[in-house]
């Protein structure tokens, strides 16, 4: 049986006016690193709060380690680790005090499960007497992860753990998650960063409370329906406006310093020539491999149509 099983979960706010989660189903296997990928407001936090028994769903069912999220909420609470999106430790307590408080609350000690957090804790240990509120963003995340892990949870819920953290710390963080996964802990992680999607084993792309696709990142990329090209010229703003008016261009969006496009007849050379005729200089284009973000945009477009 899967560790987390979600079936048609629905959550609305303000008496049904705002639909945050709109009939979502997915399953996470034991020991899997599963990612919920979607922009802000997609419903990721609501899903996490329902699975950690903090919110009651309007309808639908879900189990965590085989326990029902509504009826067995007390049981679930001692088996899962949860790290909310907002830093939620006691800012006026030191690093060590926070950790030992959460250890005692879960009826355990730091020593008992030190092996689980050792690799992470060792990095913040030099600051163990510093108040949590005075730590840097990356160190706060590490401490929060330690606190969520100290009772050896079987499922770990991480809500946007890398938001507001610098690139180096983000990379370190994902390496830590891989190490934890190796210990057999099931991990659910949510992120708005598409580039982090490939670091998960399987991902669910979420938009406006609905799942667009669930698969491995590789399969999702494979399912991209068209050939993708990136083009650029000396005037990127005029370029995107021109591309939008051309009938052979089926989709176009700006992606960093390039524009990503799909073509009806996949005739890139013809397009580039046409652009040069329209007065663009330094026109350049090449076929590229789609990323998860390209897939997300394509899926979102399909869903809207």
């Amino acid at each position: 049986m899967s560790d987390v099983h979600v079936e048609n979960l629905v959550k609305t706010y303000d008496g049904g006016q705002v639909k945050a989660v709109n009939g979502i189903s997915f399953a996470v296997e034991k020991g899997e690193l599963f990612g919920l990928i979607g922009p802000d407001g997609a419903g990721k936090t609501s899903i996490f709060r329902m699975l950690t028994t903090l919110l009651l769903p309007d309808s639908g069912k879900a189990t965590v380690t085989g326990l029902d999220i509504v009826h067995d909420y007390k049981e679930i609470r001692s088996h899962v680790g949860y790290m909310p999106g907002k830093f939620s430790l006691y800012q006026d307590l030191t690093v060590e005090e926070n950790l030992s408080f959460f250890a005692t609350i879960f009826n355990t000690t730091i020593e008992e499960n030190y092996h689980l957090i050792k690799d992470i804790y060792i990095q913040i240990k030099p600051f163990k007497n510093r108040r949590a509120g005075k730590l840097s963003g990356g160190m706060k995340q590490k401490l929060a992860l330690c606190c969520a892990l100290i009772h050896k949870p079987s499922v770990l819920f991480l809500d946007e753990p890398t938001t507001g953290v610098d690139a180096v710390s983000r990379k370190e963080f994902w390496e830590m998650l891989k190490a934890l996964k190796a210990q057999g802990i099931t991990i659910l992680v949510s992120t708005p960063y598409m580039d982090e999607a490939t670091l998960c084993e399987r991902i669910a792309l979420i938009q406006s409370g609905s799942i667009l696709s669930i698969d491995t990142p590789q399969n999702i990329i494979k399912q991209f329906p068209d050939k993708l090209y990136s083009v650029r010229s000396d005037n990127m703003i005029r370029l995107i406006n021109d591309l939008r008016t051309m009938p052979e261009v089926t989709s176009v969006y700006s992606f960093g310093d390039h524009h990503h496009i799909t073509l009806r007849d996949n005739n890139l050379d013809g397009l580039l020539q046409e652009l040069t005729e329209k007065g663009h200089a330094a026109v350049d284009g090449k076929p590229i491999e789609p990323t998860v973000e390209d897939c997300f945009i394509a899926l979102m477009k399909n869903a809207n149509n």
Binding site: R49, L54, S78, F102
Partner: protein, 368 residues
């Protein structure tokens, strides 16, 4: 148990690392005790009194009728013996006793000079002085009226005695009042912020996703404030004994016991507010606005409750500090024991239990 102790320790950290809260916790009582040097005076109507009439002659009965007819006094009953006066005072129902000696009428008509004794409960000195002056005024009026009909130069001298607080120290009145006010406000204010703060900071979110029980959290939050409030109480008592020369006549142990019950009541009320609100600001506002005025007005140390309209008097029964004020006056000033305040003690205990159970029940095990 280990969980509980760890929780309590955490709460202590919160209190001691928040310097502003600490200042409020200890600064406010000291400031208030020193500021409330004066209590307010007010006209007092329909005070219950007892009459002990040994004379039972025309003059004493005429005077009694005059006293009864005034707006100021209600005669609770007539006592056959002055020894029962003390007991009547201790019941707390009467404010004043008037005693006519055996030969009151005889002395007046034949000797031209008679005495009447007025005894007042001066544990509330303002009321006591006001009431004795009312009584002497009525006696003076009567004296004038009989002088008109009689040629003799008749004289009635009223001998006033203040019991419990012969020097009429104002402090005796305001110390119990400030104790009630400060303990009530501080305890409610502090705890009302404590649970809602965890909601605001998001720590409640991870706290809920753990095997701890609401009972544990709520009681653990009350412990540090309970201990600090007892320290506070000690400071207030030390200040009043050594700075304001205010004696503690009754048992100190009993005083602390009764104070503990009031503190528990207030802490439970604070926790209830904290559980029912969603921001620290709202919690503070409710506990300040919702409590300051009722506690000031209905405790009875600023404005006599006897003088209020009936509905307000009934309402005052809901204010815990009212009962505590009665208890402290009896224990501290009159030196009475638990036997005289058991009723008020039970009421306070009932309030504490009710509020504590309600605040635990109100604790939300989920976010919304």
């Amino acid at each position: 148990m280990k969980q509980f102790l760890s929780f309590v320790r955490k709460e202590f950290y919160h209190v001691f690392r928040d310097k502003k809260t600490l200042l409020l916790l200890f600064g406010m009582p000291i400031a208030q005790i020193l500021l409330f040097g004066f209590a307010l005076t007010n006209e007092i109507k329909n005070s219950n009194i007892v009459i002990c009439d040994y004379a039972k002659d025309v003059a004493s009965q005429e005077l009694t009728a005059k006293i009864e007819a005034s707006n100021y006094f209600e005669i609770e009953k007539s006592l056959p013996n002055h020894r029962q006066i003390e007991k009547a005072f201790q019941s707390g129902k009467i404010k004043l006793a008037i005693i006519f000696p055996t030969n009151f009428g005889n002395d007046l008509w034949h000797g031209g000079k008679a005495q009447v004794q007025i005894i007042a409960d001066a544990s509330d000195p303002n009321t006591a002085t006001t009431l004795t002056s009312y009584a002497t005024q009525i006696i003076r009026d009567y004296e004038m009226s009989i002088r008109k009909t009689n040629a003799h130069n008749l004289q009635i001298s009223a001998i006033t005695r203040m019991i419990y607080n012969p020097e009429l120290k104002g402090t005796t009145n305001f110390v119990p009042g400030v104790m009630a006010l400060v303990l009530m406000l501080i305890c409610v204010l502090m705890t009302s912020a404590s649970i809602v703060r965890e909601k605001e900071n998001g720590t409640m979110e991870i706290l809920l996703v753990s095997p701890f029980s609401p009972l544990l959290a709520v009681t653990a939050k009350a412990v540090p404030y309970f201990i600090l409030s007892l320290v506070n109480l000690t400071v207030i008592l030390l200040l009043s004994v050594f700075l304001l020369d205010m004696p503690i006549k009754g048992s100190i142990l009993l005083l602390f016991f009764e104070s503990s019950i009031l503190i528990l009541t207030a802490l439970s009320l604070g926790l209830l507010i904290s559980n029912s609100t969603n921001s620290q600001q709202a919690a503070m506002l409710i506990s300040l606005m919702g409590l300051l005025l009722p506690v000031m007005i209905f405790t009875g140390f600023m404005f006599p409750l006897e003088n209020m309209p009936r509905p307000l008097q009934l309402f005052s029964n809901l204010v815990p500090s009212k009962w505590y004020y009665i208890i402290v006056k009896n224990v501290m000033i009159k030196g009475l024991g638990l036997r005289s305040v058991w009723k008020e003690t039970l009421i306070l205990m009932g309030m504490a239990t009710f509020l504590l159970i309600l605040s635990i029940k109100k604790f939300k095990t989920r976010l919304s």
